[in-house]
Assembly symmetry: C2
Homo-oligomer: 593 residues x 2
């Protein structure tokens, strides 16, 4: 049976030592009184909930899955409903929500750290409140005052949950061709008709009502993405007094049988003249949905951070307990018939890869979450703009780089277990299966890479990228005199220069041939991801260098060195791949494949 311990020490390191987060938050008037002690207390409680309440449901939820009944209702695995009740009773859904509607008004950063733990404990379960928070965010940003009054308090209390209804059978990536229709009704509402697929948490038994946010087309809408509007379609129509009225015309037609995340109901949702209300402006639904989508993309990165952490914890424990073969440099556990496998260099490679990727991902996610708070609440408009630009730039990197790395990490965790890794009871193979979806949903990792290079980097001539580059340069300048930082600063500077050069090259080639963007996008995103990680690991190493006698910091320093020696060299491959351009991809006629 797998185990999980909330990594509070490592979280404190990132929050307090790397980011100095409460100092940063105190500069936002809204969080002037928010202190480190409060933060730590919340995280300790959140960790307890994750570990004690939902982690024990992870394997059983995977084995049982969800069940759809003949009437279209869906049961979640045993224990999910009770755990959700406890989650709501403790007030967790309200954590980072607006006080005006019943929220606790805490920073997004706090919710993000909590989500790491929830996802380590049980990604499938966490998707129910996770999507609810996404629907909450979209309505906060784009709902009418009346919509906010009707829906936000219920989403914040967790009494109602939310979904995102985008994908249709013939379109996922290409939302421009979606067909679901919205016909205006006399009372200002709309009749929504169509089929949506892959709707996570689309139907279930955790909450009394489900609020679907649905993309659909008005009758006179222009073709393509500029003809899509967003609608609220509740499962039960709320009455004016807040109680539930009639059942709406939206039903779950089927649930999918999937590789992983079995505990989350992935539904086909049929809308048959379901009553809906428009959110935001006509034909601008995609903009409104993107509030939810961007949050969801960061959330997917957090899901993979959570899985990487729990997989690492378990493979580390196994590597210390399992005795097999002797160390190449002579027996270490002389009283045992074999040494613990953690003595073997390649087992250490697998563990350190997991550790280096997981801890960098944590630093990356928390930093971006902190910037979201700053983007929303910093008194200085310039800071808000800078943070917004960096969040926009880095969102696809969080999503794609972390989910790809976590798929590798969970697989390495499985591999450490040898044959036992392939057996369900050890729990490792579930982490691989659950991690696999994160590379696909909320925009495939290819789409993320196109978003980065096309929309976030080349579209503004590299201005957003330069904002990140300045942070890297400032850190380099700050440490230029330190002999002990040379091993980190030199490769960081080198990679920074290479990213600048590569970006220019791709931009120049793309002017002549737009296929060059598509050809370079995936390796380019990973190069940028490594620049972020190299910068973060160099920063973490500097903190560690100043505390040489403490084991925790020795581990940080050793992991930083491992990252620079063994993982950063991937950039040598990636840059060659990006430079090789589009010709080797496009030369072959499709019929000849």
């Amino acid at each position: 049976m797998p185990q999980y311990t909330p990594p509070l020490r490592d979280m404190h390191f990132v929050l307090h030592e790397l980011l100095d987060a409460t100092t940063a938050l105190k500069q936002l008037p809204r969080y002037a009184d928010f202190d480190a002690e409060t933060l730590n207390q919340i995280l300790e409680e959140a960790g307890k909930f994750a570990k004690e309440v939902i982690f024990p449901l992870n394997q059983s939820g995977d084995a049982e899955g969800c069940t759809r009944h003949a009437d279209g209702s869906v049961s979640t695995p045993k224990g999910f409903k009770e755990a959700y009740r406890q989650f709501c009773e403790a007030g967790w859904p309200a954590l980072a929500c607006e006080p005006d509607y019943g929220g606790q008004g805490l920073p997004e950063l706090v919710r993000s750290v909590q989500y790491e733990m929830l996802n380590s404990a049980n990604q499938s379960w966490t998707m129910y409140p996770g999507l609810t928070h996404g629907a909450y965010a979209a309505l906060v940003a784009h709902g009418t005052p009346e919509q906010k009054q009707t829906y936000l308090p219920k989403l914040i209390s967790g009494e109602w949950t939310g979904t995102m209804c985008l994908t249709e059978p013939h379109c996922g990536t290409d939302l421009g061709i979606l067909r679901t229709k919205a016909e205006p009704l006399a009372d200002g509402s709309y009749a929504i008709t169509g089929t949506k697929i892959f709707i996570s948490s689309g139907e279930h038994d955790l909450a009394e009502n489900i609020v679907h946010l649905v993309l659909a087309r008005l009758p006179d809408a222009p073709a393509g993405t500029k003809g899509i509007s967003l609608f609220i379609v509740p499962k039960f129509l709320p009455r004016a007094d807040g109680t539930l009225g009639e059942r709406n015309g939206v039903v779950c037609g089927a649930i999918e049988h999937k590789m992983g995340i079995h505990g989350n109901a992935t539904c086909v949702m049929n809308f048959d003249r379901a009553r809906g209300w428009m959110v935001g402006e006509p034909n601008k639904g995609l903009n409104a949905m993107f509030v939810m989508m961007n949050g969801a993309r960061l959330g997917v990165g957090m899901q993979s951070l959570g899985l990487a952490e729990v997989a690492y914890q378990n493979s580390l424990a196994y590597a210390k307990e399992r005795h097999q073969m002797r160390s190449l440099s002579g027996p270490k556990a002389k009283d045992k018939p074999a040494d613990p496998i953690i003595v073997h260099p390649d087992v250490r490679r697998m563990l350190l890869t997991q550790k280096a990727y997981t801890e960098a991902a944590r630093a990356f996610c928390y930093w971006v979450a902190l910037m979201i708070d700053q983007e929303h609440h910093h008194p200085d408009e310039n800071v808000r703009k800078d943070c917004a630009d960096l969040v926009a730039l880095l969102t696809p990197v969080v999503k794609a780089f972390i989910t790809d790395n976590t798929f590798e990490s969970t697989n390495l965790g499985l591999q450490v277990f040898g044959g036992h890794g392939f057996i369900k009871e050890w729990g490792m193979e579930q982490y691989v299966r659950d991690a696999r979806i994160n590379m696909i949903y909320e925009g495939t990792n290819t789409i993320q890479s196109l978003d980065l290079i096309g929309r976030k980097v080349l579209s503004d001539g590299g201005a957003r990228l330069m904002k990140f580059g300045k942070l890297v340069q400032a850190f380099i300048a700050e440490n230029n005199g330190r002999e002990d930082m040379k091993e980190f600063i030199e490769p960081l500077m080198d990679l920074g220069n290479k990213v600048t050069q590569l970006t220019g090259e791709i931009g120049a080639k793309a002017m002549k041939n737009p296929e060059e963007i598509g050809a370079a996008a995936v390796p380019y995103l990973r190069v940028v991801g490594h620049l972020v990680y190299a910068w973060l690991w160099a920063r973490m190493a500097r903190i560690a260098l100043d505390k040489p006698s403490d084991g925790f910091y020795q581990a940080k320093l050793a992991t930083a060195r491992f990252y620079f020696a063994k993982l950063l060299p991937e950039t040598a491959m990636l840059i060659r791949q990006a430079r090789a351009g589009s010709a080797p991809l496009m030369a072959l006629d499709a019929a000849l494949f």
Copy 2:
């Protein structure tokens, strides 16, 4: 529902154009009359069986899995038994077996090509006859005349199946510490007692008897790997007249619930004073088992070749059918609302990666299989020795390089399907799950890499590696004047030089610190794998260059160029990783991880 078509055209290309296999086989007196037409006919029939009989059972077998009953018996999924009956009736198990015992005496190469197709169609099912052939090979090499007479005809006809019983709960990689006991009995047989786990095909309903080959210790055996003997332990004891006698004391105690290969029963086998007969010499069981193990390692490579092929076929079909987004260089399917996704550069990257890895793996596997025939039957002792050395050198590369690449390929195949790839009915996620075990069993890929660098390369001062190097050099010399081959010859030569240099460096470092071997092994194996693939792709490109007007060869040339442009650059990363050495891995105290 997935589809599968035996890739006969590509098989013919490798067999006849790349390897000129029947010419090579005709030099072996045993196969003097074996011609291309016969080979092609056998493959066509074998392909029909794979496609029509066992491919339709692949998804249903995964969904149903195996069932163990209270009496210890195990049922395989619906249809498996009937398919196995047809397989035996058609004489397929006898294909490459000794005519003296009822075999057809055909080349190992033919069986290998057939196994690719069987594994494309249904890896779980194919493991039943696959392990049987392994048991057959071990008994041919090490059995007494009486053992051969008793067991070989039944294994060749398929009436009985075979297993390998190595792993125990406390040891997999480290067989030196295994505990199963073998006590001598008065009649020359042994009483075998112990527990074996992860026994593929350990118990099932396909055949009337199961022949277990079991590693165990004699009472006076020395500790470690030099105290292990090999025993035949049949489920039912054969009577002198060949009929089945009493039930032996070996029972299936449980079957494992696994990530994949659900259709194969992975058993815990309990031996309780089961009667067994020694195979080969006392305390030399591991040598005898290694005949089976080496065959099994090549077989695992073939399993992954098969999965890579079928995953590629399905993702290619989907990429042509699925319409989503417009090409970056303007609409291609103007009559449709979107273009087929094969127009997109990154979709092509995913398809071409699969294609390049699969076709190189096919060339690699068939070449090694041909060398096995030459090793066994060539009249010239020097040729036999050269082939034996090359097979020994390349066995761990076939196993680890192909299975790692196939895990990547099947995952890319899944990714091409987007969200649909995660859904069971499309079949892609099963290929990923089934492919995952191939990186673990028959020696993890780490063990393969240690075998390569330690036992196969450094142990003879690089002599075996040099034999392969000479083949590469000869090809380079042969093509040095050809301008049109320059794009392949130059990087091939460069990589050859780098492998020579890297090998020397690792050898020198290992003299001072044995951990350096463990630290370099995994990236080193992949570098060697790329040298093999670069050589094979350069050879295939040369064939294609001479037939420029035919689409099949255009595709070969384009795939070769893709391989050199986009996949070979991995060596830039791998060489850096190998050179980074053991310090970054070994620095951290285990307690501080």
